[in-house]
Symmetry: C2
């Protein structure tokens, strides 16, 4: 494991994306969001993705020209983006900016994005809005992938469908980013690649048995991932997964009915400005009370005090910003692949 | 078990609430929502609540005069209600109406309600909006109650915090209503009263052990209910529970910091109009594709095909509307208590 400065990582990624044809604007936002993912410790959804983005830009499946984004303005608070498969971080960041601007004037803003390319780590987008005492929400589904089965079913139909949200609090800001399935596609793929069993029986085999073996997901016919709540309470995760499908693909008008292939995402972004509701002070007083009570809840394991969602990520971020970002071997290998296919070849050697 | 017509139930409830001082408007909406709860089969959150509402109206904790509602209009799409503890169904219905009206013009509408009285069954509000091809969302927390512990903690801090949403679909409309905890306060209380064990170990004792015994929740110090996801994935249910706390109590400005007592709720209602986004046809084509794929997913148990959220409730509703509402013994007993304390005394005898 080696540490990398965010400056070096950023220069490298921006150069890579621009070499593959992306505009400076798209390259910079995408680079920043990927690095933010690693800063928060989400190494499966950070710089590791750069090579895939680089390849998709070169093949033409991902677009890098921000001028390809078209928008239907529905009202002063609502917009529908056709992302035309521009790299997702650019689209999501733009959607958040527009929603935040609506929220500051009208209390709330919503932007739905159809035909986005992959959007990386949802948590990576939140902090700058939380720092402004706004409440950002992001949800996403991938209509090209079927990995989660409906509760009681075997055939996979939809995706883990994460919901991410930032909650301002003076005590400890909350950065949540959770999928509505037990585990993510990424963690199943990673365990399978490393020949490791999963910690919990969250795979449903193609005959309807639970399993810890990720290979049971990659069987033919395919297995599936259990919805959040598992075999007992999976009807709840199933319902929440449907909620995300409806608010993303259905609202945007591009989804499973269109049978897309390749990396992509349907996304909906909401921003709420508490200052226009009961006021920022009142909002923060309430979240402070809540966070304090959670942190003071007696812990089951005295060695592991209760932590708020995002707390360890934000701690990791502070450390990485001071000491450099510690990238795992698989991330470095993947980044090196992109570099070796570019004019930067050799810059990671030695 | 005996069947009751919705007409008889409605007349009885409206009379009870009006006798206890509620206006006709509040009485009618509340009666309708309670009966809708039973129609959908949610007997713990239907007519059974009428006696409690009746008592709270008489004691003055619940208000029945709709003119006590005050509203701060934030923008053409956002409003903050101070419910002044008017019976919740009136407030939620009003919030949905206003949000729907905003959504039809601007794509989305949001109303946050602080200081509501109890709001009954969330699913009961959804169908009429779904029938108009709108997407209604309701979430709620109860700042007077602490029953769910943060993930990893023992001391309970917050409530099950349900999220309900209606999703229009020609194939099968979706009516979802799920708490962000494994089980609800109501089901734990009911099992405890009937000296029954819970089906799953979802109680955390006051020493941090899981248990199926509801008595372990009512111990001193109190036990708690595990967040959705349980001991393995409860960090996800915890995060979602915090999301609901922030979007209800914190946004409304009245919550745990105010240490309220008695029946109450913080509520946020959102309505989205898909016709202004990608269009109703496109939305329904996508939800139809999704619903069809779910219903066609091969089922684990061949005797139990996959059902969509709300599907059995809507079937139950059709049956009850034709044959009369079948009320369980405990519901009838509770209704009789209210009747026997009113001028309607005797009307349920024989």
């Amino acid at each position: 494991m080696k540490r990398y400065t965010t400056t070096w990582l950023n220069d490298t990624l921006v150069n890579l994306f621009m070499e593959a044809g992306a505009s400076q604007e798209v390259s910079e936002v995408t680079s920043n969001i990927l690095i933010e993912g690693d800063l928060l410790g989400h190494h499966t959804h950070g710089v590791k993705l750069a090579n895939g983005y680089f390849q998709d830009l070169k093949s033409g499946h991902a677009k890098g020209d921000h001028k390809l984004l078209t928008s239907k303005i529905i009202s002063p608070v609502a917009e529908l983006f056709d992302g035309n498969f521009i790299l997702g971080p650019y689209l999501v960041q733009k959607a958040l900016e527009n929603s935040a601007s609506s929220a500051r004037k009208h209390g709330i803003g919503i932007v739905t994005i159809k035909r986005s390319h992959h959007i990386a780590c949802l948590a990576a987008y939140l902090q700058s809005y939380v720092d402004q005492n706004l409440v950002p929400i992001i949800m996403t589904s991938d209509p090209a992938v079927k990995s989660v089965a409906p509760f009681g079913g075997i055939t996979p139909v939809y995706t883990p469908n994460p919901i991410a949200m930032g909650i301002p609090s003076r005590e400890q800001p909350i950065i949540m980013d959770v999928s509505m399935s037990t585990v993510t596609n990424g963690s199943v793929a990673k365990a399978n690649l490393q020949n490791e069993m999963l910690s919990h029986p969250v795979i449903l085999t193609n005959t309807g048995k639970t399993s810890v073996n990720p290979a049971d997901f990659f069987s033919d016919p395919q297995g599936s991932i259990l919805p959040l709540g598992g075999v007992e309470f999976g009807h709840k995760g199933f319902a929440m997964g449907l909620m995300v499908e409806a608010l993303t693909s259905a609202l945007g008008g591009f989804g499973r009915k269109d049978e897309p292939t390749g990396w992509g995402a349907s996304v909906t972004v909401l921003v709420i400005d508490p200052s226009l509701f009961s006021g920022t002070e009142s909002f923060l007083n309430e979240t402070d009370t809540l966070v304090k009570a959670c942190l003071e809840s007696r812990s089951i394991n005295p060695q592991s005090p209760v932590r708020m969602p995002g707390q360890s990520g934000l701690k990791c971020r502070r450390n990485y910003l001071e000491e450099g970002v510690l990238l795992p071997r698989d991330v470095v290998d993947e980044l090196k692949k992109a570099i070796d296919n570019s004019s930067l070849k050799g810059c990671m050697d030695g």
